[in-house]
Structures are given as C-alpha cells and as structure tokens.
C-alpha cells in the first residue's frame, strides 16, 4: 500500500487523544485507498457513463402553423370563435388572445355559427355536427345526422332565430334543423352536386348556391324549389342577403352576382379581379358588402351592390380566406390565417 506522506500521516493519526495503533492503521488504510478509489471511479465513469441527449420541451401553440380555420362566428360574450383543422374551435378575445375550446372530434370543422343565448353549432368533414348550449364550455357531437354513402363534407352552416339552422355540403347535402342543431333532416334528395352555401331569408325563403353556377330558391322553407337562370358557370361559393330581396353571391374566378328580387333573377356585377372569391357578407353597421377570397383578395361595395372594388389585404400576405365577419368598424377574416382588417391595415394573428 502506498502512503501519501510518512511525515504528515503520523501527525494526522495522533491528532486527538489517545493515540492508538488501531486508529493509526485505520487512517493509513483510508488515506492510501483514496488513489485507488479515484482510479476505479475514473475507469467506471469512462466505461459506463454515457450521457444521453435531453431535449427541451415545446408547448404546441393554440394556433398551429398548419391549421386552417375555415369558419368564424361572434362568440356569445365577446370576441370571436373560429373553427377548423383537427376539430379545433378557438375563442379569440378582442385583444387577439386565443384559447382552445374542447371538442369531441378531430375532423376538420368547416363552419361555425352562434345563436343568442350561448347556443352554437359547428359542421365539418365526414358529416360531423357539434353543438353547444353553454357558451362553448361543452361541445357534443350530434348523432343521426343524415349521411351519404359517397361523401359527407359539410361546408357551411347558417342560422336564424328560434333555433333554425341549415347546413350545406357535398353530394347535395342540404340539412335543416329547427332545434338548435339537435336533430337534422334532409331538405332535398342526395345528388351529385356540392352545395356551398345557403341563405335563410326573413319569412321562410331559402337561397342555396353551389357548384357550376347552380342556384336554388325556395319560397317555403324547402317544400318547393325553383332554379333561376344564372349568367355564369363558375362555382358559387357563398351567398348573403341584406333583406328579403337584396342579395349577393360570389364564386370562383372573381364572379359576383346580385339579385334584387329574393333570388329569382341574378345579374353579374363587374369586378376587376379574377381571383377566386370564397365569401361575402353584409356589414349592417357600415352599410356595405364585404367579401374575401384567394391571394389575400378583398372586395367591397355599397348597399346597391353595383360599385364593386377589390384589392389585397397586404401585398406581403397572399393567404386565402374562406370567411369574412364584420365586427364594429373592422372585419375579421379567417382561412389560411386569421386577422383583422380596418379597410387600411391588415393585422394577422401571430402564428
């Protein structure tokens, strides 16, 4: 056995009383085993310690980069609700702060609508319909929604007072509910056309628009249907009315149609863009029509719906939007991204 120092050790060993042989040996053994312990420790560490990489943790943001939010509605209290990819419904308050609402589906939701009193409905892929009756705290999937064998994407849902709702979609889906979305019935038989939007007129009038420039008008809540002449063949994506007779429909390739007789006849309006248009809405507060579409396009016109203008929200943001929602002086747009537009400046929510 090796010793650190024959000069220092005896001093160590005899420090304190009484000096005994046993104690001296103990100190000697302890001290001289230190180097061997170090050698052993180094060998062990060298051979067996293999640090493993530890990554940081990442919290997924509520609004993810790949999310599309196709639908938008005013939230029951304040702010808005948006619905989209993976069954997400997100509440966004007026400051732009987002928080996710729990939903029972991961199918992409295409549209959302909210009645007064905290009731709401959302529709989406695979015929999924969700409803809430407590201002979004709990969403439940509705059972027994009529289905097609072929395709079941529901693209829009429109509501009216007393719990009325109409949902449009693929394979001629035109579903109606009178009980805040709890039960649904077909208004028309299945057919190979996609209905993209519907308007519930005051009274019981219905106007439905769809693929290849097709429009349906019903004066009696869907019992009988008429097919007006339409001056275009482009698919129509959205329709909106400001009263029982005056309405606008928009569609692909910059198509804007207007009617002044509750949808019985349609005129094409002039517009200086060829971009696809996906939505149009009547802004009651500012007495104007507003619409949105592909490549960051906006369109607007006065109440007469004849003086259409168009432009880009922002030269550096060419995202598409499937919905516009006028709120006060501003407009919310949602689609590939979500943001507010005040007519001059486009403020997208940060992703």
């Amino acid at each position: 056995m090796d010793r650190i120092s024959s000069e220092v050790e005896p001093a160590l060993a005899s420090a304190g009383a009484p000096p005994s042989r046993l104690r001296a040996t103990a100190v000697k053994v302890t001290v001289s085993s230190v180097p061997w312990l170090i050698i052993g420790g180094l060998l062990w560490a060298g051979l067996f310690i293999k640090p493993q990489p530890v990554g940081g943790t990442v919290q997924p943001p509520i609004l993810e980069r790949r999310d599309h939010f196709y639908g938008i509605a005013r939230a029951p209290a304040e702010g808005i609700w948006v619905a989209g990819s993976h069954g997400k419904i997100v509440a966004i308050d007026s400051q732009g702060k987002a928080h996710a609402l729990q939903t029972p589906t991961d199918q992409t939701l295409q549209d959302i609508a909210v009645w007064d009193g905290g009731r709401g409905v959302a529709v989406g892929n695979e015929g999924v319909v969700l409803t809430t009756s407590d201002a979004g705290r709990r969403w439940t999937a509705v059972e027994g929604v009529p289905r097609s064998e072929v395709a079941n994407k529901l693209t829009r849902v429109r509501i009216a007072a007393e719990g009325k709702a109409i949902a449009t979609g693929e394979m001629g889906a035109l579903l109606f509910s009178k009980d805040y979305g709890a039960s649904w019935a077909r208004l028309r038989d299945e057919e190979d056309v996609a209905w993209n939007d519907a308007a519930l007129l005051p009274g019981s009038g219905l106007v439905v628009v769809g693929e290849f420039g097709r429009i349906l008008v019903s004066p009696d809540g869907g019992s009988s249907w008429r097919t007006p002449d339409v001056p275009v063949e482009s698919s129509l994506m959205a329709v909106a009315f400001r009263n029982a007779s005056e309405g606008v429909a928009v569609g692909l390739e910059g198509v804007v149609l207007s009617t002044r007789d509750g949808g019985r006849s349609w005129q094409r309006e002039k517009l200086d863009t060829q971009a696809h248009l996906f939505d149009v809405a009547w802004d009651e507060a500012n007495q104007r029509w507003l619409g949105a579409g592909a490549l960051g396009t906006w369109i607007k016109a006065g109440a007469a719906a004849t003086d259409w203008q168009s432009g880009r929200l922002d030269e550096r943001d060419l995202a598409w939007h499937t919905r516009v929602l006028p709120v006060g002086g501003e407009v919310w747009l949602t689609g590939a991204n979500i943001g507010r537009w005040d007519g001059q400046r486009w403020l997208a929510l940060g992703r």
């Binding site: 090796d2 010793r3 650190i4 120092s5 024959s6 000069e7 220092v8 001289s32 230190v34 180097p35 061997w36 170090i38 050698i39 180094l42 060998l43 560490a45 060298g46 051979l47 310690i49 293999k50 640090p51 493993q52 990489p53 530890v54 990554g55 940081g56 943790t57 990442v58 919290q59 997924p60 943001p61 993810e64 980069r65 790949r66 599309h68 196709y70 990819s85 992409t108 295409q110 892929n125 695979e126 994407k153 693209t155 698919s235 994506m237 692909l252 696809h276 996906f278 592909a294 490549l295 030269e315 550096r316 943001d317 060419l318 598409w320 499937t322 689609g335 590939a336």
Partner: protein, 788 residues
C-alpha cells in the same frame, strides 16, 4: 538506464545529430506534399444510425453538402426579366460546377418546379419557367400567378414578400472539393451580382471554402506568432541558443510529424492548425526547459573545454524523465480521443500523437545534443536583462509556498476548482449560437445565412425517411400519408423548425386543384381510396425524377424534410428528442421510421457521439495520466498529485467555454482533449526538480526555492512567450481559431500558474513520500537516476 542513454547520445553526438538531420531532410519532402483540405466524409461517425440513413438516402433526398443561393431585390419583386434572367444564368451555370449532382439543382428556372393545372382537357403539369423565360409581360404575370397559387413554390422557393428566390444545388459527396466549389460558385455569383440584385450563398461547401480561403491569412498569423515567440525568447533568454534550439525542435518535430502522416495517408485539416500550434508550443517549452537547465549547470561548472558537453549531459539526464513523462502523458491523453467513432478525430489523434511523440527526439534528445557543441557558453547576446523581474515573480511563488499563505493558496484552489467545475456543467454540446461558430457573426457567410433565414423558412435540412425497402408503393398508402402529415404538424410546433415538406404536402395541393382550387379541400383525402387515386393522378402527370425530392423510385420510401432556422446544439437535441417521441407514439403497421439525414441529421449524430463520449474522454484521459504518473514514480500518490493542475485547468477551461458560449463540437473536441495533457507538463518539471534536490539531501525549503528558480524560470519564460504569441490569434478572421487561440492562452496561463504557485504549496503541505522519500526507508531507495 537514463544515464546510459545520455552517455550514448553524448558519445555519439555527431552520429545522433547526423541521423536526425538526415531523417528530417528525407521527411521534409513528404511533409511539404501533405494534402491540406477538409474531407467531409471524415466527419461522419459512420456506424451511427443517423449517418447510415443519411448515406443510404442522400443521393435521393438531398445530401449534407447542399448549397443554397438566394437572389434578392430591395425594391419591386423578383418577377422582373432581369432577375429571372439571372436565376436562369445561375441555374444553368451550376451544372458546370465540379461535383454537382445535375439532378439536384432546383430553382424557378429548373425543370423540377412545376405547376399542376386542372382544365377541361384534364390535368397537366408544366415547368414554371423551363426551358424559356417568360417572353412578355403577360407571361410574366402568368408566372407570378402560378407561383402564388403553388404552396410548394411560394414560400419554399419564392419568399412570401416576393423579393427573393432560392436556388438549391446538391453535390456528389465523395467528389466534392470545397475550395474548387467555393471558387467556381463565387465566380458564377460575381457574374450576376449587381447593385439591384443581391446574391447570398450558404452551405457546407461554402463554409469550408471560406475556411480554406483564409488559409493564407492563417499561415501569416502562424509566421507572425513564430517570429514573436523567437523575439521574446531572445529577449528573455539573452542567448542565440535559446532562440535557435527551440525553433529547431519545433521545426524538426513538425517536419517529422507531417512527413510521417503523409506516408500514412493522412491529410491536414486547415481548422486543426490550432492543434499544430499547440504541439509546437510544447516542443518550444521542452526545449527551453533544457536550454535553461543547461544555462543553470554552466554556472556550477568551472571553465574548461568540456564545459558544454558536461552541462548538456546533466541537462539531458535530469530532464529526461520529466520531459518524457510530459510527452508521453500528452500523447496518451490525446490518444483517448481516438476512441471516438468519428474518422476525422481518429486521424487527427494519430497526427497529434505522432507529432507529440516526435518531441522525444526533437526536444528531449536533439536539444541537449546540439547544446554540447556550444563553444562560448558564457556570455549573453544583448544587454537587456529581464531576469530580475522574472525572479521577483518566482520569489512571490516561493513566498506563497513557504509562508502561512500556502493554506490560503490551497483553499482558494479548491474553491476555484469547485466553482469552475460547477459552472463547467453548463458546457453545451453542439453549436451554441445561430450561424456558423467557425466564423465571426459579422462574416459574410453568417450575414448571408441570417438573411436567408429571415426571408425563408430555414436553410439547414434534416430528413426522416418513412418506408421499407422492397415494399413498392408503400408511401402511397393512406397510413403513411396520414402519419407523415401528423409528424409534420407535430414537428413544426418547435419554433426553430421553419417548415417541413413531404409528399403529404403535395397531395393536398393536388386535391384542392382538382376541386377548382377550393381551399376547403386542401387536405389529404379522407379515405385510402381517395388518396390512392390522388397519388395515381400525381404519378400520371409527373415525369421521372419529379418526385425524387419526396419518394424513391419504387415509392417504397418517402422523405419528410424539416427546415431548420439554426443548428444550435439545443435546437437539434430538442428536435431529435421530439422525433423519437413521435415515432414511439406512432408505430406503423407496415414500414418504419428511419432517422435521420441531411446536414442537421449528421450534425445530430456527431453531437450525440461527442456527448456520449464526453465523460469517457475526460475520465479515461485522467486515468491514463494517473497510471503513467503512478508507474513512473511508483506511487499512486504521484498520480493524484499531478491530477491537481490538470483538473483545475480543465474545469476552468470548460467553464470559460461555457461562459463564452463555445460549444463542444467536432472542431473543439481535439483542442479540449489536448488541454488535459497540456496542463501537467509544467508541474512535472517543478515537482521533479524538487524531488531531485530532496534526494541529494537539500532541505524542503531550499529544494522548492531551487526548483522554482531553475525549472520555474523555464516555465515562466515559455508560458509568457507562448501566451503572448497565441493571443495573436485573436486577430484571425476565423472566429474558431481566434477562440481556440484564446483558449490555449488560458490553458498555458492556468497550467503555468498552478505549477508555479499551487503545486509548491501542495507539495510543501502534504509532503508526499514519492518526493520526500519514506522516513522508514533509506531516502535513495527509489529508482532515482543519480546525476551528481
């Protein structure tokens, strides 16, 4: 034994010197022809899972040598004939660059970027801008619209603000010569660059091209550092021998080492010039020690014809053991690095071990042999004498060791050891800053890299492969497409990952196109049947090679490419951990996940290897050191004692690296490993001299004084000279070299300080037997060679 070697060297001094001279001349021919270049393949730990995936798929899904070129305009957008013309010129010009993989050039002007159009006649794909540029304003507007509609181009290849566009080009890894590629691409860029259109270039070949571009500057720095070293030695030692012999020792060992390595087929990496400098500084140190000892001995020997020979003999005998132990400890500690599975580190280790071992000849033997010929040993070459000043420093060390202050010294050392050790735990593996740590943040390369990352989603790539060999068409299956999509969504949550792309991104675009551009269909099909038919349509409209970026020839394997905004160690670790988390949670019924290729993939592999061997490297190097000391001094206590300066200099250096955000990477590992052996050299000379003095009966106080004034003087001279000359590196255009120079200076400083101030105190306080001799045994019972 040592006595016999010394006697032989002195007796046959002409023969010994002649042999060394002959070998040096012979090896110099080989040394001059050593290849100076960076071989990329050498950096890869070839058995690592990631590297195997990378090697298997790099030709299909993109290698690690990808170069990204960005053209940008300040005003207007890139849809302008002048800019597009330049894109085309570059795209065509790149085909002529050496080692380019012509199938891996992607830009607006290449055949690979296409638009898919659905019309009444069916579906067709058309290259965006190939072979011809737009002929008129209408076609230009149409091109712009086509780009805007295509999410695979608008974003990945054309910036969101339309002011920049990318050209990416990949190389055939085994043929790529960085200097050539750098020069050729540089010439191409110069042709198109003007006031309006800026060009930025990044990628591994460009980065290492820059390193080689600075080679002349580096060599100039080496020359200046050398000149400064010699000038300082001349000033401090006041003799020509004190200048010429260390220079000769350094030159001989460099010649031998480079010559032998050339014969062994090893090339020289420009980045490791720092290591070369470090080893040369060891040669100078050892040689100066011997010259210094020689000068000391002269004072004790009366004038006579045999003075030089006798003094040289004594110097050789006395310094043989500490010199040899120093050299062998250096070499052995470095050899531990060879356990790393990275070929570059193995070759570098071989180079440095050979180099260090040559010091046994060049410094330990050649210097005293040449000293024996000195004709007029007494006298000085100039009148400036700084020795009194240096002696004051040494006296301070002596006072610290002998006064009560020695306990304070030991206490402070322990404190420094623990606090720096604790701080050193923050040391990170991998790059600690965005951009390349090899260059300064304001270097062109790093500015280019930042600019591209600002406009695009990231330049550095990692690919993960999903599939299985032989399972034709597996990637087209619903399960794989859905899994890819989920994976991308999961990964993109990490903010440093700018974007990701796979075949599962192409399908939604096609789906939406087939639905008249309706974004409500910009998603994967709901069923396997829909996805199957979408894939079939995609195949029917694409030409061979179009889908190469996403799937292999049989669609058995598909890639998901993640774009990284930086390659910091932390970013990569987090990404890899998340990939593994996802893979564990999402096993595939058929096929498997294969990690991970691309520059980030192999960087991850290198980082993991370095991390795993970090403890191993330090622990085994310390173990080797301890064993060597134990064997040489026949005492385990000696091993423990010499670990003190080593551990202090290591923890302090690691703490410094952590503080300065210098990460452990393939470039810093060898320097760090060298440091372990380095810390101990100076301590050997001091401790050995104390031991010798004690052995001839000097009392401990005098022994320490003599040791500090003789060996300590050598330590002080070499350390101060070398610290000054390594600090010169701070002027380097390569940040890596500047930081490593600083690191070396710190090392030299700390090890000199611990040898001069800490070791004497420790020895004086603990009185280890291997130095002081056992009290219960005769003092001279050890193996001490007796010189006197």
């Amino acid at each position: 034994m040592i006595e016999r070697i010394a006697a032989f060297c002195m007796r046959r001094r002409a023969w010994v010197a002649g042999t060394i001279a002959f070998l040096t001349v012979a090896l110099s021919w080989f040394a001059l022809h050593i290849e100076v270049r960076t071989v990329f393949e050498d950096m890869l730990p070839s058995r690592h899972e990631y590297v195997q995936t990378h090697q298997k798929f790099k030709d299909t899904f993109g290698g690690s040598n990808m170069v990204t070129i960005m053209l940008e305009v300040d005003k207007g957008d890139i849809f302008d004939m002048e800019v597009l013309e330049k894109v085309r010129t570059l795209t065509l010009g790149l085909r002529e660059v050496s080692a380019v993989n012509p199938f891996q050039i992607t830009s607006l002007a290449s055949k690979k970027l296409k638009e898919v159009r659905a019309s009444t006649d069916g579906i067709e794909t058309r290259p965006l801008m190939w072979p011809e540029l737009p002929a008129n304003a209408e076609e230009l507007a149409a091109l712009k619209q086509a780009v805007l509609r295509n999410p695979l181009v608008y974003g990945p290849f054309v910036s969101k603000d339309l002011q920049a566009t990318l050209i990416t080009v990949d190389f055939i890894d085994r043929e790529v010569d960085y200097t050539k590629v750098f020069d050729e691409i540089g010439a191409l860029v110069k042709k198109v660059e003007n006031d309006r259109v800026g060009v930025r270039v990044v990628g591994a070949p460009i980065l290492y091209g820059w390193v080689e571009h600075y080679l002349p500057e580096t060599l100039k720095l080496v020359a200046i550092a050398l000149a400064l070293t010699l000038a300082m030695l001349f000033l401090l030692l006041r003799t020509w021998r004190g200048v010429i012999l260390p220079l000769l020792a350094g030159a001989v060992s460099a010649t031998w080492a480079l010559g032998i390595c050339h014969l062994l087929g090893i090339h020289f990496e420009p980045l490791v010039i720092v290591v070369a400098m470090l080893i040369t500084s060891r040669a100078v140190s050892h040689s100066v020690q011997i010259v210094n000892r020689f000068d000391d001995e002269l004072e004790h020997i009366a004038d006579g014809s045999e003075t030089s020979r006798q003094a040289a003999h004594v110097a050789l005998v006395d310094l043989f053991r500490p010199g040899m132990v120093g050299v062998i400890a250096d070499a052995a500690c470095m050899a531990v690095v060879a356990l790393s599975p990275i070929p570059m580190l193995q070759k570098l280790t071989l180079l440095s071990v050979v180099w260090v071992m040559t010091l046994t000849i060049s410094a330990v033997i050649l210097t005293p042999v040449l000293l024996s010929w000195i004709r007029k040993p007494q006298g000085t070459a100039h009148g400036v004498d700084l020795a009194p000043l240096l002696r004051k420093v040494l006296d301070f060390g002596l006072w610290m060791a002998l006064s009560r202050f020695r306990y304070v010294v030991i206490g402070c050392s322990v404190l420094v050891l623990f606090s720096s050790g604790f701080y050193a735990l923050k040391l990170k593996v991998g790059d600690a800053n965005p951009g390349s740590p090899i260059l300064w943040p304001e270097a062109t390369y790093n500015r280019d890299s930042t600019a591209i990352n600002q406009r695009f989603d990231g330049v550095d790539r990692l690919f993960v492969v999903v599939g299985q060999d032989g399972k034709e068409g597996l990637v087209k299956s619903n399960e794989v497409l859905q899994a890819m999509n989920r994976f991308q969504r999961f990964m993109e949550v990490q903010p440093e990952i700018g974007a990701s792309i796979s075949i599962a991104d192409v399908v939604p675009v096609l789906n939406s196109t087939l639905r008249e551009g309706n974004p409500r269909y910009e998603e994967l099909g709901a069923t396997a049947a829909i996805n199957g038919s979408l894939m079939a349509i995609l195949e029917s409209v694409s030409e061979p090679g179009d889908m190469d970026r996403f799937v292999d020839g049989q669609a058995a394997n598909g890639s998901i490419t993640l774009m990284f905004r930086d390659r910091q160690g932390e970013t990569i670790r987090t990404a890899m951990a998340r990939i593994k988390e996802f893979v564990a949670a999402n096993p595939l019924q058929t096929g498997e996940w294969q990690l991970a290729g691309g520059l980030i993939g192999i960087t991850a592999a290198m980082n993991e290897v370095i991390l795993a061997s970090q403890i191993e490297g330090v622990a085994l190097a310390l173990l080797v050191l301890m064993i060597i000391c134990t064997v040489v001094y026949r005492s385990t206590v000696a091993g423990m004692l010499f670990m003190v300066p080593v551990i202090i200099s290591n923890t302090l250096t690691f703490a410094f690296m952590a503080w300065q955000d210098i990460g452990m990477s393939i470039n810093t590992v060898p320097v760090a490993a060298l440091g372990i052996g380095l810390g101990v050299d100076y301590a050997f000379y001091i401790a050995d001299r104390i031991k010798e003095e004690i052995a001839i009966g000097t009392n401990p106080e005098d022994a320490i004084r003599i040791a500090l004034h003789s060996a300590g003087m050598g330590v002080l001279v070499t350390a101060s000279v070398l610290i000054l000359s390594t600090l010169l590196w701070w002027a380097s255009s390569l940040r890596f070299q500047a930081e490593m120079g600083l690191l070396m200076a710190i090392w030299l400083g700390i090890s000199a300080m611990s040898a001069l101030f800490v070791m004497p105190s420790v020895i004086y306080v603990f009185r280890p037997d291997f130095i002081f001799g056992r009290k219960d045994r005769p003092v001279l019972a050890g193996l001490q060679p007796q010189a006197h």
